[in-house]
Structures are given as C-alpha cells and as structure tokens.
Amino acid sequence: MLRLLSFALLLATWWVAATVAGSAKLPPPSVVLAAAVAEAKSGALFLHLGATLARVVLAFTLSMALGSALGYLMGRSRLANRLGDPWLILLLNLPALVVIVLAYIWAGLTEVAAIAAIAINKLPTAVVTLREGARALDPSLDEMAKVFAFPRSRILRHVLLPQLAPYIAAAARSGLSLVWKIVLVAELLGRPNGIGFEIGVAFQLFDIPLLLAYSLSFAAVVLVIEAVIVQPFELRASRWRLRAA
C-alpha cells in the first residue's frame, strides 16, 4: 500500500519536474509511456528487452556464483586473501570499457565475449562483499556444526547461507544494477540488439523519450521481480529476526 503510494509520488514528482523544466529538458511520463507503447507495439521493445535480460541473467548468475565462492574463500583463508588481493583490486578498478573492448578483441563480437566481459566486471564487487560476509561469520556456530558432524551441504544451507544472506542480498541488488549498467556498454560497443543498443541509437538521435522508455523498461522488470518474488522471499527468510524492517 505504502509502496504504491510512494510509487505514485514518484510519478507525480517526475510529472511536476517535467512540467517545470519543459519537455525538452525532461519529457513527462506520458510522453515516455507513449514511446514505450510504440516500441512495444512494434515488438522491438520485447525483442531488445529479451536479449538484454538473457545477457543479464547469464552474466549475473555466473558472476554471483563465482564471486560468492571466491569471496568466501578469501574471507576465510588468509592465504587466499593475500594471493587474490592484488588481482581483486586490479579487476575492481579496471574500467568496464577496457574489459569489454579487450574481451571483444579476443573473443570476437560474440555473445560469449559480451557475457564474459560483463561477468568479469561484476565479479570483483561480489567477491569484495562476500569476503566481508565470510569474515563476519560466527565461529561458535562453525564449532557447533563440527561437533555434531554436519555434512558440508547441511553446513552450507543451514549455517553459512543464513549468515551470508544479508551480504548476498546486498551483492545481488547492487550487483544486478551493475550488471545492467555494464550490459548496456557491452551492447553499445558490440552487440546488434538489446536495450543498450537501442539506448545508443536513441542517444545518437538524442531522442530523450525513447532513451528513457528503454531505460525504464528494465527498471520496471526489476520492480516487478522485487515485488513479486524477492521481497516476499526475504520477508520469509528473515522472519527469525525479532525486528525486521
């Protein structure tokens, strides 16, 4: 309820800002919606959204899985941390553009290159976050699990994951947004479809309503996923907290 209210407020703010600034500076929601509807009718919106979502899902899954594993390792083992740290800092601070260009040069303008480049860009932020999570793990629960001879899978599911959950949630949310930002660059530089491609075109034409229509389409998808899947799940998973916000 409150969420809907806030959402309405957001639209209203936008609308007021657009009216004040003039539609050249910020097109009002109606114009953007019209642009989106036109693209949806022609089918282009779904085509590009689909292509982008597929890339996002693949790169996100890949980098979260690998990043979490590496981050856990580096948080737990001093040796792994020492060894991995310089690589991590390098990867963290390599501009997306560079990684993408190099990936394309090496592997060609292929889907694999694009997804690998995006995953490599997101990987280090997942590592960094999960490393902190692994460092903050409660050793007393480890000991409990060891005494009662929990098998690995049970430790992972019942001891580690619940402790890492907030870190995973943070890495996933900010990571998804990062992946999405980078997928756009990758599409801009070397893919013949996807939202990033269309945003590039819209930018070259300086068609701001179209730019916003494509940009917001992804935000809309995430908004729906959050409301329908993620947040109910989170609520369930954090029931045990006495004071959940």
């Binding site: 409990m144 009662f148 929990f150």
Partner: protein
Amino acid sequence: MRLEVDIRSKSFTSANGKRQEVIGGIAFALQRGEVGVVVGPSGCGKSTMLRILAGLDSDYQGHVARPDGARLAMVFQEPRLLPWRSVEDNVRLAAPDVTDDRLAAIFGVLELDAHRTHFPGELSLGLARRVALARAFAVEPDFLILDEPLASLDDALAARLRDEIAMLVASRPMITLLVTHSMDDAVRLGDRIFLLSARPARLLHAVPIEVPRAQRSNDAVAAIKADLARRDFSMS
C-alpha cells in the same frame, strides 16, 4: 572405546599480543560408561579443555586420544542454536535420525513442547539451554560433553534434568564429561570428580565416588559432599 587425555600445556595469544598459559597439565582417562565431572574456579580453563577434547582445538602440547568413531554430542556453555531455524529444526539438524516419538519424549521431559516452532530469539535463556540439551540427547551420543548444562534453570527443573541425564547415562554405554559449578550435581552424577586449580588449570585431585549412582540417596550425597569438604582441597 576410551578417552585418554594428557594435555601438558595450552596457551592463548590474545589480541594484545600477550601469551598466557591456560592449561598447565591435565591427564586422565575415561572408560565407556564412566561419567567424569570437572570442577574448577571460573576462568580456569575448563571450557578450553572441553574444546580440545571435542576436537575443536588442536593447538596444544600433549596428546589426546578421542574415542574412535564415537558419535559426539556437546552442550556448550552458551546455547549455540541456529537463530534462523526453529527449535525443532535445530534439534533435527543435529540429529536427523531421531524418531518422532523420541523427539516428543525429549521435548516432554525438557518442557519444550510449547516451543517447537519458536525461533531461538523468542526463547528465554533457560529455554534455549534446554534446547541445547535436547539436541545433545537426540543425537544419542557415544561421547557426551556437557559444559554447565543445568545453569540458569530453576532448582526443581534442574533436579529433574539431572535425573534425566543419569538415566541417559545408564541406558547406553557412553563416555560422559560434565563441567559444573554445583557440587551437588557433581556428586550425584559423577563416577570421578576432577578438581582443577585456578588458571593455568592443573589437575589437583581425581576423586572417585564409590557409591553406585543409583544408590546415591540424599543422605549419601550429603555424606560424600561433607567428606569432600572435610578433605579441604585448596582449589585456588
């Protein structure tokens, strides 16, 4: 199956860099079916010793032979429950093979029936400690380590649970090691009482209790306690 303990020395280096000896020499052995009770001043090194015996710490001087292939259960000094799992899940995760009947029996004895679906954060400390006991009982261990299992419980309940522990010990041939600050518990449950010095912990006396556990009436217990007190072990 036998537990042999010979810890010559155990030290900790604390974060401020100082090294501190915590155990100065403890050696004993326990047979299957025996209950050892460890008594010693607060902070002397009892929990540290238990952690070594449970295989959680291997950084010490000496040698410990833990019973081979024995199923271990431990009641830590704090409850150490998984906060994100219900009471029942906490027990079942440690003892996946426990039958529903046995679980019901354990929860009955520990008066936890009303709390099965609660999360640990919704329990009082006494309840949480009882869940930790339930977990250890449900495992049906061969080697049971109890670190002050009956603290924070009212006298009536503590007495009932002490009897329950005695029954468990009688029902299966296992090695039991109990830390307590209550001489009453020590005398009622133990086959041998290990008296430790203040830090660094040394084994001062290992006092056997000759009266069989089943025959320790209130009077017998009082007599043994008086005897122990008369011997006036200097414990610090």
